[in-house]
Amino acid sequence: MSTEKRIQERDVVIQTIAKLMIPFIQLYGLYVMVGTEGAGGGFQGGTVLAASFILLVVAFGVDKGRMKMPEGWNAVFKSLGLYLYAGVGGLLCIIFSLGKAEYLNYCAIPLAKIIGGPATRGFWVGNIVEVGIGVTVMAAFVSIFYDLVRKEEKKEAKE
């Protein structure tokens, strides 16, 4: 196989640096998504997480990248993020606001009466929504990159 030969020729410096960097990049992406108090940061954190997986594929090759992040997970993660966003934003608030249907009004859940509206929005519900956005963005970027790389592989196999 030509792919195995290409994997063996990869540089050990790049692989070691990638092994060292990837956990910190992912931790930073998670920090951007949920670490700060205010709202926002889901798209940025998801992009940083996707960049870590793209670095994994670039450093170790497509085969090991598919072992760590299989392509079937992309659809699962995309759907999971959408369900988190729409579920927290819509379903919970529709249920807890007793039929008034306050979509994306995070202060409508009963937790807001205990710890206050801004705290609910910022700490609890906003973080779950941001994780949903970030997971969707990460899976979308990784699936675009896998699509670009896979077509290249097919072309090489024909030749």
Binding site: V32, G40, G41, F43, Q44, T47, V48, A50, A51, I54, V58, F141, I144, F145, L148, V149, K151, E152, K155
Partner: protein
């Protein structure tokens, strides 16, 4: 906000943008666009908007460069005359 640093960064951005659209080597154009995005991220950070800055660095300099190189590997490297 430091005015000379700002002017120097904007000058380099203009130079890199002109170089990126005039070169015939598409790989060089991609690398120049990556440098353009990095300098743009420096400008955002220098204008005290760190959030936009590292988004630009992650998307423009990181993910877009990887996408464009992966797309370039399926086409020719040199622009037709």
């Amino acid at each position: 906000m430091i005015i000379p640093l700002d002017l120097a960064l904007l000058f380099f951005i203009v130079v890199i943008a002109i170089a990126a659209i005039t070169t015939k080597d598409l790989l060089a154009a991609i690398v120049l666009l990556s440098a353009y995005s990095f300098l743009m991220a420096c400008v955002w950070v220098e204008m005290n908007s760190v959030d936009v800055g590292f988004t630009e660095a992650a998307i423009g300099a990181g993910v877009t460069t990887a996408f464009m190189i992966a797309a370039l590997s399926r086409t020719a490297r040199w622009e037709e005359k």
